[in-house]
């Protein structure tokens, strides 16, 4: 632990691009309108096989996300962005600090925070329809309610006619659309997306990003979007939090003032290009 301290200090004081606002390391997070709050959160993992030596994944992380806001957590591989998401989802607990949902600490996963995973997490023994309705069915929602919702959602994610297919019969993009439908069917207040389109080709990815924004217009969930792709972060977000490399901290926060839904033309706008340039510069300092 003590031997890693100088390195942490170096990263903490690394200068970011001057034209972007610095993020205070200890801000006043946790106001009433905030949906999700991370307050001075640190997370360390014990290294297997060593005597009490720990890896610090994130350190003094302060994040506040407003209701119905779309926030991207952007950063290089290993910056702790997935750790942050795992703590919000309730898969992991913070070593220090608090992770709050509506002011209450998050202790376990739950249907109020739906997750779209990067890897295949659809159940291969269930059809598309069965995958989408499994959660609501198990929680005792009446079939009359979930049946209509499922039909509507499958239509919205353009999977009508594929209800009886199995996940392995679908393309990667279609599988992710099933995941989105499965996540939205419980009408969650928070939607966590962990590099959901990382494995897709760029054309499909753009279509998926547009779909997310269209669905946001209808369902208005708070979306936390984990990505390492600068263009993706700008395209889908209201706000981007750029994380430094390990131990992860929010290095800078950028707002994207653009109405939603957004179309392909936004990708070539001056605002987009400018944001992309500055974020790429800032991100470059974090990649080694």
């Amino acid at each position: 632990m003590s031997s890693s301290l100088p390195k942490i200090a170096k990263i903490m004081y690394r200068k970011s691009a001057p034209y972007l606002a610095h993020v205070q390391s200890r801000s006043n997070v946790g106001r009433a309108e905030d949906k999700v709050v991370l307050k001075d959160v640190s997370k360390n993992y014990l290294k297997s096989g060593s005597s009490g030596d720990a890896t610090l994944a994130v350190k003094s992380l302060n994040i506040a996300i407003k209701k119905a806001e779309i926030v991207s957590i952007l950063g290089p591989t290993g910056c702790g962005k997935s750790t942050a998401m795992n703590m919000i989802a309730g898969f992991e607990l913070p070593s220090q600090g608090e992770v709050l949902l509506d002011g209450k600490p998050i202790l376990a996963p739950g249907p109020d925070r739906a997750v779209v995973f990067q890897q295949a997490s659809l159940f291969p023994w269930l059809t598309v329809f069965e995958n989408v309705v499994l959660g609501v069915k198990c929680r005792g929602v009446s079939p009359d309610t979930y049946y209509n919702r499922a039909e509507h959602l499958l239509d919205a994610v353009k999977l009508k006619g594929f209800e009886k297919h199995y996940p392995y019969q679908l393309s990667g993009g279609m599988q992710q659309r099933v995941q989105i439908a499965r996540a939205l069917i419980s009408e969650p207040e928070v939607l966590l997306m962990d590099e959901p389109f990382g494995a897709l080709d760029s054309q499909t990815r753009l279509m998926m990003q547009e779909l997310v924004l269209q669905l946001w217009v209808e369902y208005q969930p708070t979306i936390i979007f984990i990505t390492h792709d600068v263009a993706e972060a700008i395209f889908v977000s209201d706000r981007i939090l750029l994380m430094s490399s390990r131990p992860g901290k929010v290095k800078l926060a950028v707002s994207v003032d653009e109405s939603k839904p957004r179309g392909q033309e936004f990708l070539t706008s001056a605002k987009f290009v400018e944001l992309q340039a500055s974020l790429l510069t800032a991100l470059k300092q974090e990649v080694h």
Partner: protein, 255 residues
Amino acid sequence: MKRIPPILISSATIVAIFVVWFVVTNGGLVGPTYLPSPQALFWSFMRLLTNGYQRTPLWEHIGISLFRALCGFLLGVAVGIPTGLVTGYNRLADAAMSPVMAFIRPIPPIAFIPMVVLYFGLGEVGKIVLIFITSFNYAHVNAHAGAAHVPIAYIRAAKTLGLTPGQIFRKVVFPAALPHIFTGLKVAMALSWAVVVAAELVGAQKGLGFMISDAAQVFQIPVVFIGIALIGFIGLALNMVLSAAESSIVHWKGR
């Protein structure tokens, strides 16, 4: 050159074996007490079909062996799969069971024969108990492995969907473990069939194992070979039934 269909090559192998067999037995290269000729075996088989062996019809020998094997197999599977899933899913159950299972697993089932005879006698119960031990062992270890290796993404997805631990066990862990379970079923089936034959070698009055050991003692060598062949064909058929069930139930395997 045209591609030769695999079925033709397989058939050619079978034909070749019969030709070699016919030549060496009829040419006097191998005596009939060591290896009967194909035609001698055929006529012995016909006699077995009409007269049976030791006043018991052939189908009864087959039937009693199958009955013992399937009873032991089904009982072992019925206990082995649920307990394997529980020990694979639950850390405490695993810690409690693993010393016992780790000790029992490497013991060959036939090593239990003397004690099973002592406890249960030479009747049906002893044989079925022996096959139960065999089948339980392999059903348990594979179900355990299946439940212990459910991808973390499945468990996490189930938790965020709001499934209770019981629902996760029934609706996620169990189906996710099915490919492993079927591997266990196939091994358990093959060994149940092997152990029933071994168990019938001692103190049985009926069954294919009894038939081959009894026939060997009175030098009815064709009957021994017919018994061996029947054991082989039935074992193959049992495996094929399970494989067919596997490919229809675990349709997602390997995709």
